[in-house]
């Protein structure tokens, strides 16, 4: 049993406030919540919506059609009514409307009731409760906490509005039939961005450099807010080139550092990435993808930068690329990424996207206590320390400047001590050293995860944020008599051939799977499919893509993978 609610209106109109409030309240009530946001690249006007889906079991995806649409503008009504499900309840903030639409005049009501236009949002939230038939007290409790800082009067006014909203819905006889029963769902709501920020702070990231860019800004902003609590220097760089090089400097000096950006900003960091490869610095970059090329669709989602980030940078060096699939994984992988960067002294990229960055879900509470990663640095380096001692596995002992050793790093080809060299024998040894890290990274590459019946005839393969929608699609198809399972990669580089083949049931003989295999990607060219082919994992597969900027949903995928 689940219900999808869509709050839609203009930017700056309160869609955000209303949606966020509902998410919190539902989670506190014990419902499972999954929310996504859809917005235009503008500050006022346009068409934004907040999808809040609730259920009595865990959710992993949005739904294409909603059961309850709250349209705050005529434009929202016009555009989204057609995308509401069969028999959906449609509320409109106005005084009259077509058949099948309930005109509830939230704004007018709020103005009349408490002389405030803003509190129309609370009326709307109340109406949602009315339609769903949930006890309004849950909302009232929430409003008391949420507005406690604004004074008694504001709290009271909001409560009045909420109750009135619920009444309006009941009066208009808009009650829905079945709604999910509250259960004992986890009560902590996180967005993907919050999970990333929190994980970085807990892992001991002490320096964050970024230039604002949607959809990466949310994680950056979260970290700015946490700077005092966790002790983090958060500096807005003059451009992305600076951000990457500042982070290189900070990691050289010994603190875990992080850079947040999106595709276009990442493009500007590519030279810095290559620098980190040469200097062997644990640079950590989060690229929250959005559709390109160029400026593209700044507020939309996509998985178009996979091949780019894997090859980005001139010259050859080892790297790892991760792509977490869920909010929990965003937390987990952020730490793993930082650890890998430090264990191998090499750059690591984490691919997020607008979908993951903005998705919200209630999950078990994430650790907030600082628990720094191991930087693998020498405590008392010897006097004759050299930075690039060639060792088995390629990872030399790392000392920090300011200690008993001199630490010399150079973007030119260098000798063991880090000094510039033109000796071509040393060159060869240094290339070997740097690239030999690839073997360790390869061995340790995360195995893809498997979901669904082991015996399924059709394997669906995805990476990154597509996890949730695909997982729901697997359940849907199987419930309809299908035989599907999924394989998800939360690390996309290096691809460990053995682990991948095992998960994909690929025969070594001819690189074909014993099952039908379909790749699911939010890009137009099937980049991960190419990668599997290149890695020698899988020679052939089907492909389902989406590249309009919206995330996949379980239902849509279930239709498309029949």
């Amino acid at each position: 049993m689940d219900i999808a609610i869509r709050i839609a209106g203009e930017a700056g109109q309160g869609v955000q406030t209303t949606g966020a409030a509902l998410v919190e309240v539902f989670a506190r009530m014990g419902l499972y919540v999954f929310a996504t946001r859809s917005y235009w690249s503008r500050i006022r006007g346009g068409l934004n919506w907040y999808d809040v889906r609730i259920a009595d079991r865990e959710l992993f995806s949005g739904r294409p059609h909603c059961d309850l649409l709250v349209a705050l503008t005529p434009f929202a009504l016009e555009k989204l009514r057609g995308q509401s499900g069969e028999g959906a309840v449609v509320l409109f903030d106005g005084e009259k409307a077509d058949d099948g639409v309930a005109a509830l005049a939230f704004t007018k009501t709020a103005r009349e009731l408490v002389s405030s236009k803003v509190m129309a949002n609370t009326v709307a939230a109340g109406a949602v409760f009315g339609v769903l038939g949930y006890d309004i007290d849950a909302l009232v409790d929430y409003l008391e906490v949420a507005f406690s800082g604004k004074g008694e009067e504001t709290v009271e006014k909001n409560i009045t509005c909420a109750r009135r909203g619920a009444e309006m819905a009941r009066e208009a006889d808009l009650g829905m039939g079945a709604v999910p029963e509250p259960v004992k769902s986890p009560s902590s709501v996180y967005s993907g961005s919050e999970a990333v920020g929190l994980s970085a702070a807990v892992a001991g990231v002490k320096a964050v450099f970024a230039y604002p860019m949607t959809p990466s800004t949310a994680a950056f902003t979260w970290l700015a807010g946490a700077a005092d609590k966790y002790g983090i220097v958060v500096e807005q760089a003059e451009d992305e080139i600076a951000a990457a090089n500042m982070a290189c400097g900070a990691t050289y000096a010994g603190v875990p550092a992080m850079v947040t950006t999106s595709g276009g900003g990442f493009a500007l960091m590519v030279e810095g990435l290559s620098l980190a490869g040469m200097l062997e610095l644990p640079l950590f970059i989060m690229n929250a993808q959005r559709p390109g090329p160029a400026t593209g669709l700044p507020t939309r989602t996509g998985q178009e930068d996979l091949q780019f980030v894997i090859r980005a940078g001139h010259g050859e060096f080892a790297r790892a690329v991760y792509a977490p699939g869920t909010v929990e994984e965003a937390y987990k992988i952020t730490r793993i990424a930082l650890e890998t960067a430090h264990r191998y002294q090499t750059p690591v990229i984490m691919l997020s996207d607008q979908f993951l960055a903005d998705m919200q879900k209630n999950i078990r509470r994430l650790g907030e206590k600082i628990d720094p990663i191991d930087r693998h640095v020498l405590k008392s380096p010897p006097e004759d320390y050299v930075r690039y001692e060639p060792v088995e596995g390629g990872v030399s002992a790392r000392a920090l400047p300011g200690s008993s050793a001199f630490v010399v790093v150079d973007s030119d080809e260098h000798d063991y001590a880090g000094h510039i060299t033109e000796d071509l024998d040393i060159r060869v040894r240094m290339v070997d050293k740097r690239l030999s890290k690839g073997a360790g990274l390869y061995d340790e590459a995360l195995a893809p995860s498997f979901y669904g019946p082991k015996s399924a005839k059709h394997l669906l393969v995805c990476w990154g944020s597509t996890y949730g929608p695909l997982r729901e699609a697997v359940d849907i198809t199987n419930s309809r008599g299908g035989s599907t399972a999924m394989v998800h990669f939360s690390q996309v580089w290096p691809v460990n051939i053995e682990k991948a083949r095992r998960a994909l049931r690929v025969r070594r003989r001819d690189n074909r799977s014993s099952r039908r295999v379909t790749l699911i990607e939010a890009n137009a060219t099937g980049q991960f499919a190419s990668l599997l082919r290149e890695a020698g994992v899988l020679s052939e597969c089907g492909l389902v893509t989406r590249f309009d900027g919206l995330p996949f949903t379980g239902e849509e995928l279930a239709e498309r993978i029949r």
Binding site: G231, V233, I241, A242, N245, M246, Y252
Partner: protein, 274 residues
Amino acid sequence: MTSHHPSKDVAWCPGCGNFPILDVFNDAVSEAGIDRRRLVLVSGIGQAAKLPHYTTGNVFNGLHGRALPAAVGIKLANHSLEVVVTSGDGDMYGEGGNHFLHNLRRNVSLKVFVHNNQVYGLTKGQASPTSDEGFVTSVQRSGVILKPFNPLAAAIIEGASFVARSYAGARDHLKEMMLAAFENDSGFTLLDILQPCVSFNRVNTFKWYSERVRPVDDSHDPYDQAAALELALEWGDRIPIGIIYRSGRAAYESRAKVLSKGTMLEQFERAAHA
């Protein structure tokens, strides 16, 4: 002081203005009593940017144009280090121009020594941002038509803490300026050093500079912005050298709340051992 593997083979041309700068730098570091183990030399790419390899200290020799952001990252991670940036005019003012501009404003305590030879040395003689108008090169065949970039004036306007100019051919003056730079711990410390390039700049030679440089008057008040600007805009028959400007602004490190609890490195290590 034993040298820690400094590159034995110095890649500069005989007679290059970089040699006296290196000499004086070594003197000044000693005289200032700087602990070389706490010294980090940050550079980009170019002839000047090779200096860190020829002396003793920690070295971050990064990308062309990107010495400043790396240096800022280092200083913000561990502001107890003495971070010296050594760069060329192309490196700092050309490719690195945006970082120069905004780090003047950011005012992190870096010692920024720019070997200004008014040419791209390492890439064989193209015009740099500070090349004089009319300067002929293999690319600028009819001579430079861009107005030379004025780093001192930019620094004065945009908030640098300390702005000075010296000359590779005036060792005593240069040492004095370096010592003054080392002493300034309240933000961005720019020392632009006129540096003859004997291979590619046949115009701005030792002779040319020697005939023109003039120490600023003792009466000059570096806190007087208008007077400083006037000096900074002078270029031609007279080229003022000396401390041109001091802003009196507080350094970034002293204003960023989070750094008041110790360096970020200490804060990390405290957390790790808690």
